[in-house]
Symmetry: C2
Subunit: 407 residues, 2 copies
């Protein structure tokens, strides 16, 4: 496999034209779209118009005239087809963590005789923390943390809810959503899926899997910008019974009646809490346009090819970096994990050379592959620079070992 082979793949790639929809810095190979997606070119124009025209000139009238009030439903309906949901089953609002709280607490109120939530160790920390906070609030609630291999057998008649992240944030392993949901339903449990590393990355089929609840992130593969609003899904069959614990005014049946008593809105609107964060919402709305004319199967095919190519080149050229993700592309999300005891310093040295991935404690170098703005030659070049970092051992320089606040 040569760089020329990769250029040949790029020349026939049906998704290659989508790169022009994004602003990517010169000289950067960006393998961190699983942390923060790159800037879609449509966003700055739209955001400036919203600020200067809709806010500046329209002022408070824009809640109606510019449709701000409908943004949570409108953005949700654009995310829905990416995750196998109906357009009236998804709204965009709040953060992923806040939505996980709503959904877990709401699911428990639908299961009054059960007080066990099953999840797995090493799940994304916020998922675990949110359950721990909920348990502090609801005496008697047990958060049962079960290793991945024992999840199926752990689902029994005591379980109210199974909460899992479909694609593991660190290793990229994919849970079998349909099989786990089916087993959960057989014992009367409900399921809540964190799609933060799935939405926009792999085909997700919530309704085909009969899933009950889901939430996910707007700023990774959906490219909504730093801290973009999250999204939340409640299957249509549960919407009438579902009660959010965060009963803010935007979830009221008639928010502008200013009644003293809470009455939940119909449908997904009852998942809303406070006033929608309009600026973040319109950025996400504009960003979603890049998905308008592609289907997730096409993205998935290229995503697996990019990941496989990366792993093949790394195996050939960087023997010290040990894969910590499934080697079978079908079992891996749109990301690759490599292990090295000096992973942090290696990643810093690589970033300095224009290849941006990230590090996840204690020893994982993480690389995301976003088929809409990455090509095969990008992958070849990224491994080339990674091989240089490993061969020269430049990462041993002390300046790369400094602890960073965030990546």
């Amino acid at each position: 496999m040569t760089r020329e082979d990769c250029l040949a793949f790029d020349a026939t790639d049906p998704l290659a034209g989508h790169r022009a929809l994004f602003d990517i810095p010169d000289g950067v190979i960006y393998l961190d779209g699983n942390s923060l997606g790159v800037l879609p070119k449509a966003v700055p124009v739209r955001l400036a118009a919203v600020v200067v025209e809709e806010w500046g000139q329209g002022l408070v009238r824009s809640w109606n005239t510019a449709g701000w009030i409908d943004l949570p439903a409108r953005v949700g309906s654009k995310i829905a087809p990416l995750i196998g949901a109906q357009s009236d089953e998804v709204v965009a609002c709040d953060s992923t963590s806040v939505n996980l709280f709503k959904l877990a607490a709401g699911a428990l109120t639908m299961q009054p005789d059960r007080r066990v939530i099953v999840t797995e160790p090493g799940n994304f920390p916020s998922d675990l923390y949110i359950l721990q906070g909920l348990a502090d609030l609801m005496p008697g609630l047990e958060v049962r943390v079960v290793p991945r291999a024992q999840l199926i057998e752990a689902l029994d008649e005591t379980v109210a809810l199974l909460l899992l992240t479909q694609v593991h944030y660190k290793t990229g392993e994919i849970h079998d959503m349909a099989a786990l949901t089916a087993k959960a339903h057989r014992v009367g449990a409900l399921t809540l899926w964190d799609l933060s590393h799935s939405a926009g990355a792999i085909p997700v089929d919530l309704n085909g899997s009969d899933a009950d609840f889901a939430a996910g992130c707007g700023y990774k593969y959906l490219n909504g910008g730093p801290g973009a609003p999250a999204f939340t899904f409640v299957a249509r069959r549960h919407q009438k019974a579902f009660r959010s614990p965060l009963t803010g005014w935007m979830g009221h049946a008639q928010p502008f009646a200013f009644d003293d008593d809470y009455q939940p809105a119909a449908g997904m609107a009852r998942l809303l809490c406070g006033t929608p964060q309009v600026l973040g919402m319109v950025a996400l709305d504009a960003a979603l346009a890049v998905f308008a004319d592609v289907d997730m199967a096409m993205i998935r095919t290229k995503s697996i090819a990019l990941g496989d190519l990366f792993l093949r080149l790394v195996t050939a050229r960087c023997a010290d970096l040990i894969p910590a993700c499934p080697l079978d592309g079908e079992k891996r999300g749109s990301q690759v994990a490599l292990r090295h005891p000096h992973g942090y310093a290696i990643m810093q040295a690589l970033i300095e050379r224009g290849v941006i991935g990230d590090f996840r404690a204690p020893d994982i170098l993480r690389f995301g592959f976003t088929p809409l703005y990455l090509g095969y030659a990008d992958v070849w070049d990224a491994v080339d620079r990674l091989a240089q970092v490993m061969e020269t051992e430049v990462w041993r320089e002390s300046r790369y070992a400094a602890v960073s606040a965030v990546t």
Copy 2:
């Protein structure tokens, strides 16, 4: 009082120069800064730079290099002096409703032997709804809704928390924060103040009043833009004991250690939940610059003068509009309420004539006075147009009676 008198006041107004810091549409007199503040000119420039440079070019690195990760604390520290708090007592995050939930639930965990929260009827609906949702989650919790005149006597040894909005969203009446807090403390209760209609509008002295908790809105008098992040305050003496029920990863002591177990961060960081909404946060950050060189006492003096002038002119020229707010400026927030059975249609007719206020069910016309961008002649002109609407009874035209989704 003539228009010329008003122009003379404007000519000597020490705050008149601040109007140049805002973009106000030509021909509009904006009396709705208590719903959505106008656009500070600093915002579009800053937001564009954040989108194009920090997100577009810096990408994920900007969490460190552009200080995104510090935005909740940095923005909080700019709000702190406006509300009588120390800079390490305030963070910006989430919505007001979500923050009220955190604070009320957290306060209850500090009062394990008490299960009564006192509030008042007609409080802003989200405040009431959030307590109702919390009560559904915590069996045994009683939300005691007590008329304003009986609040002091309702505070007894059963009460865990008093939750009030300092300035009433509709009538503008101001609670005596110091007196109510003192009484609450005498019986061992804690206090939570909603400052949505106070912050940036009137001088607030949380620490001088010995208040325990507070939250408020970023998009009204703070001009942070539609759906701006809210802010939250926990008095320094309570920060160590305070536990948020929304234990997202950004409130963890070491979010990037990716531990399975939640450990609260020190100080106000434990109030954070999900990833900060960067775009909304930088807009609010840029907007707060208009407060850099004014003190709240100066704003308050002009605010009372504008409100008094408005009421005096309305009384003289619009006899059918009955004041529904305190006539004594010292007892009134930076807003005026007028009552009329056809208030909705009157407000629509007035808005069409370029004077923007809002309507609050069932019969209140609401006008906000924002001294940083309104002058005395604006008030004169606003009442002039209102008087025309009333004299011609143009509001009786059926098109003004249509029900609007939002104002």
